[in-house]
Symmetry: C2
Subunit: 343 residues, 2 copies
DNA sequence: ATGAAAGCGCTAACAG
DNA sequence: CTGTTAGCGCTTTCAT
């Protein structure tokens, strides 16, 4: 049923080597032989077998991408952009999700190792999964498999990041300029520490005392149900009678959950509380109120990640230096903030 | 650098055949030999090469999934669920996106063919891409590669669907029961014709004349920027001075875009217009107002798709009958609807 | 219970 | 320009 190179060779009355030549376009082949072979390929619907090629080339033309979850617009979009870019370059992307509430035995990395991916892209890895996967991660490094990460890792790999510290500082200063003094923060381990540091720095630089009761940053647990988490954190803030007028959330989903909770408590945004998010997912502009947030140049980041990874893959000799590439981010002012009511 | 079965054999002082036996656990191997080999595997960090296995087994343990876009919560969630289920069964999922505004030359299917996936999952395929890919789709069928589709296709493949007709009928009747008579519809080719038919049937069954000026269903173009599309359609409805109090949208993203537009026009939802969506994505419950919608049992659908596909793959002899499996859907009543103001 | 050897489909020397 | 041939790493008879 499935045709092989032999079938094509027989059909075209040539040797398999010649068929291989026209498929790969490497050596020269006489024009008419070439056409004869192309016709045979067409006629038989022949498609070369990747597995066989892989055995010889030692190249799978496959890249792995580990994300915590896919049902999160940020990762989904990144995966989509990367997938398309890679496809055009002849590579296939395998996306695996590392966050799995049900069981810790998650073979997301080992499967990529078996498949001998040519390169690895790392989003964020859930904490528990990370621990068990450190061994595998190390094997990637040991085997010299090019790797690019979208989050700070303790490993020596190229890292693509938004300038989270500077931009969250900018976001919080936006709130400060509006007149807010009591600004709360909701963060989580998975969104990184820099957004919290940016928040703290903004307060300090503006002579506002950092009040730890305004800060919720689950530094131990990874959170991936961000909206629910944002909702719950606001519930806590309210039930604790915390006094705040501004709120900075370490991503847009948390911010959306937070606004939802606020409104459920009858607190209007932005009239009574101002909220700033982070990432600028599609839903940020669509939500009501439209969310003021920080825009990650996700398209550029995806392009750079792909370019950097392919450079390492295709020039394995060049002793590659692992850079940390930081992208500037932009504050997008929309409708979720206003000056605090003078009380 | 990379270890092969030979390295393990040498390390353990056995032949490669014996190593193969313990890896696959098929033939019996003496206990102590087995342990010796397992130690060697552990020591060398040996991971079997998929490509080589594939050549012999004729099984890639890989499934392809074609979705229009990934940055759409519905497809992202489906992909995530499927990916996890497959991983547990030892399969790897390759997700490719078919919708690409930039170029029509999209090798989403041919790449899956080259990689000789054991099975194919089809979401929806963009119209133009579909045309050019029909050839490839036919090749999958011809080669007897098990295929499951999530949308009605003219091909003879197993299909997993929500009962869109019955449930959109239910959704529109909800609006009718609330007292709405002038109910608009916004649909698109990509969300399928059944949702429109359900809408029409609901009106007819309730003696409401179908007014074509209330219906926007781009039957020719595929739309994937759903929110933008919903926004624009409402703009059109408003600028045409169309008289309506209820609105049924063929998915939640369209509904969200529509509500956003309505509110931008100063029209309150649900006070002045009622809106119903379809799918029940996470954002539906989070949006403001929380969206009344129809819930697809996406988890069950994913599970069934995987089970059906693997059944075909693992029992290739059993002459498989291609069923159309239809799932019941549930109306989720939230805050985006109310009775129309008596005018 | 284990080893030797054939061969999966393909590419890359090496010959001619 | 084109054919012959040796593997790539693995599984699977077939011997032992």
């Amino acid at each position: 049923m499935i045709k092989t190179i032999k079938d094509v060779a027989r059909e075209a009355n040539v040797s398999i080597a010649t068929v291989s030549r026209v498929i790969n376009g490497k050596d020269r082949v006489k024009k008419e032989t070439k056409e004869k072979i192309q016709q045979a390929i067409e006629k038989l619907n022949y498609v070369p077998d990747q597995a066989a090629r892989t055995m010889i080339n030692k190249k799978t033309k496959t890249i792995g991408f580990v994300v915590p979850v896919l049902s999160n617009e940020y990762w989904a979009k990144l995966a989509e952009l990367i997938q398309r870019k890679l496809l055009r370059k002849g590579y296939t992307l395998i996306v695996t999700t590392s966050y799995d509430e049900r069981e810790s035995e998650n073979p997301c990395l080992s499967t990529l190792l078996e498949r001998k991916v040519d390169g690895l892209l790392i989003g964020t890895m859930a904490n528990d999964v990370q621990a068990e996967n450190t061994k595998y991660l190390q094997m990637f490094i040991d085997q010299g498999i090019p790797t690019v990460s979208f989050s700070s890792l303790s490993l020596n790999v190229t890292t693509i990041l938004g300038d989270a510290l500077a931009s969250s500082l900018k976001a919080v200063e936006h709130l400060i300029q509006l007149g807010h003094k009591r600004i709360a923060f909701i963060g989580s381990l998975s969104t990184g520490i820099d957004r919290e540091l940016g928040y703290r720095n903004a307060l300090m630089l503006n002579q506002i005392t950092v009040d730890e009761s305004l800060i919720i940053s689950s530094r131990n647990d990874h959170v991936y149900h961000f909206t629910k988490y944002g909702y719950q954190c606001v519930q806590k803030l309210i039930s604790d009678n915390t006094d705040f007028t501004g709120l900075f959330c370490s991503n847009d989903l948390i911010a959306i959950g937070a606004i939802k909770a606020l409104e459920d408590f009858g607190i209007s945004v932005p009239a009574e509380k101002s909220v700033v998010g982070f990432d600028d997912i599609d839903m940020a502009g669509l939500y009501r109120p439209a969310l003021t947030t920080v825009k990650q140049p996700i398209e550029d980041m995806a392009a750079t990640a792909v370019a950097t990874l392919l450079e390492q893959i295709e020039h394995p000799n060049g002793s590659y230096v692992h850079k940390k590439i930081s992208f500037p981010m932009e504050l997008v002012v929309r409708q979720s903030c206003s000056s605090p009511k003078s009380s």
